[in-house]
Subunit: 380 residues, 2 copies
DNA sequence: TTGTAAGCGTTATCAA
DNA sequence: TTGATAACGCTTACAA
């Protein structure tokens, strides 16, 4: 069972090319497949493990140039890499940071991830990325796994976690930073979009552009604070501006009813002679709605219905759709920084970092286009 | 420095709600922030570590019901979780599988990842996901890190790795599975799309639909085998069918020249009275081209130019673009299975698993649309 | 400046 | 059926 596992050998590989040295000619060959350990290096360099460890940890001031050279040579010769696991076990910290993502299919997550990765890189952490893929069970399971791998901290883009699970980390002294949304009953650092400001920005833009009936489309707001905040901000802004607007809740897993309702409202508004604009609460909603509108109104759907959204999806440019771009990269970066500060011992009340969104104006909401819209607004 | 890190305390957290028990009232409180170890459990259960270990590893047949119950209770009481790092250190395997992705921004990667995750889950592995974000340095760095964390195997969607780096894994007895593309000079298991078949499928479709001039658009093929294979297959198919077609290389980082050339070729073909179709070698290329065409021909660009692509991007449906959908999920799954077999000791020549793509026909290449195209084909 | 030895949380060996 | 005890690969007092 633990027999030496034969290394992949050429044989009759179809498409691939060359490479035909039959024996593992390199330096590690003597050790078999086993990786060199600190003991091997010590022996090779003719010294003790301590000195190797010192070398590895950069305590150069305390090593004679001679010894240092021998160590360097030994490490190179054996192609030695310190075992992080062992290191972590001894030190009590393994530089691992858990990053739990609700849905990588949402470009938002990928972008946040990029920020997280960059910051981790800069600060010497290794992100242990967990993708719940919208499965609440997966989320729970990964959270357990993270605790099992003894991550030093976690960044959570929550799907449906309950407060208690996260509480477990906090009580274990493992800092938790929430991203995009908070978790009911759990007080901790959190980073995300300044939803009220972003929604206000967008809503004002629509009103400025002369739209008279606004329809905000959002997934079920239960337990997802960012959705709730966006919806609330929409209503509030509409009220403040004395504009006319309503909210439509759509479940992406079963959207037909909501989409029918959407059509109905659009038609009603048009009948009332109002210019109507649709405002999707995030990228996935926007895509779903766009696909529907295209099915209903044809390729030229944008002449009939105006759509904008939060999240600057990659196809937004193609569709010429106005959006609010989230500062995703910074959100990720900031989350890691929060964690880093906590890991450094910072003891302060939970913080909240709300970053501003950026309005990206495109043709969809622009006056010239509205004229087209006017012209074609007869569709039922 | 190692002082007990104060757990996040409410304070004046703005948006969040409730939770105000001032003391950590739960069971682990007595231990401070430290997680319970196997020794703690043994003491609590009034037995030795060995029995706990046996329990953890499911050797139930060798435990008296009584002891078993006590252990169960102790584990629950202390909320004990075995430390994977320590486990791995002792056992020599930590169930970690490295997954190196070239670019998560490409939905292809995310989809493959989903398959990988599912398979890992099923087989009891934990994927350690590394995202090179198109940076060749990152890729190298992550590869080093993976070796440092002693992953049991690696799945690599290569960016620009050199054979030697990967050779290091193989020689260390760590199986490597390549995804989507091979690495020159490195012979190992690999999983990906059956490029020749997929391209042939698409090309035949275009010819069947009556297109007379085909333009294949692909990123620089150097060192990315899948691109090379697709391009070759395109040329071959075109030759076999006695059709007319050419290839255009586009560098997404600096696309203007290629896009100008593209326009020129399209115009030339149309002047010659030929129906022309563009065939993008992957999703990112398709998006770039589509955005360009839209800028050039306006919202109704699809009436002027026909585009299809490999990779069924999320916006493909919105644009009504014909595509070849890759079996991404299966690719990921298969890669893990390959790894699992190697880890189980399977010693056989390197294998190659080429999965078929699926043609998804949409309006862009469909006859009725071509008529529109004909009508509007006067654009310079 | 260098080395010895103890121990991190497990599992494996061996004896009871 | 159970339990000491010795590793695993590393860091860290503490000596020399």
């Amino acid at each position: 069972m633990t027999a030496s596992r034969p290394v992949t050998r050429p044989g009759a590989a179809p498409t691939t090319t060359m490479s035909d040295d039959p024996t593992p000619t390199n330096r590690t060959a003597a050790l078999g497949a086993r990786r060199a350990t600190i003991t091997d290096v010590a022996r090779e360099a003719g010294t003790g493990k301590t000195s190797i460890s010192r070398y590895l940890n950069g305590e150069m001031g305390v090593l004679s140039p001679d010894l240092r050279e021998r160590i360097e040579a030994a490490i190179a010769k054996l192609d030695y890499r310190p075992n992080q696991m062992a290191r972590g076990l001894k030190r009590g910290r393994n530089r691992l940071i858990g990053m739990l993502l609700a849905d990588l299919t949402n470009p938002y997550s990928v972008e946040v991830l990029q920020g997280v990765e960059a910051a981790c890189h800069a600060l010497g952490y290794m992100p242990l990325i967990c993708h719940a893929a919208n499965e609440i069970d997966m989320e729970r399971r990964y959270l357990q796994l993270l605790t099992t791998y003894r991550v030093e901290g976690v960044i959570v883009n929550a799907l449906g976690v309950k407060e208690e699970l996260l509480q477990g980390f906090a009580q274990g002294g493992i800092p938790v930073v929430l991203v995009d949304r908070s978790v009911e009953g759990f007080v901790t650092d959190m980073v995300g979009l300044d939803n009220p400001a972003a929604v206000q920005l967008a809503t004002c833009h629509l009103v400025d552009e002369g739209f008279e009936e606004l329809l905000f489309i959002v997934q079920p707001v239960t337990h997802v604070s960012s959705r709730r905040l966006r919806e609330a901000a929409f209503r509030e802004t509409v009220a403040t501006l004395n504009a006319s607007g309503s909210t439509l809740v759509i479940d992406l897993a079963d959207a037909s009813a909501a989409l029918a309702e959407l059509d109905a409202r659009v038609v009603a508004a048009k009948r009332a002679g109002k210019r109507v604009a649709l405002f999707a609460a995030n990228g996935p909603v926007a895509l779903r709605v766009a696909v529907h509108l295209k099915e209903r109104h044809g390729v030229d759907w944008q002449a009939s219905v105006v759509l904008m959204s939060i999240d600057d999806s990659e196809w937004a440019q193609l569709a010429g759709m106005t959006t609010v771009r989230q500062p995703t990269y910074d959100i990720g970066r900031r989350a890691v920084e929060f964690l880093h500060e906590r890991l450094g011992g910072a003891a302060m009340p939970a913080r909240e970092c709300l970053l501003p969104g950026e309005l990206v104006v495109r043709a969809s909401t622009t006056r010239t286009d509205q004229l087209d819209m006017q012209r074609a607004s007869q569709g039922t």
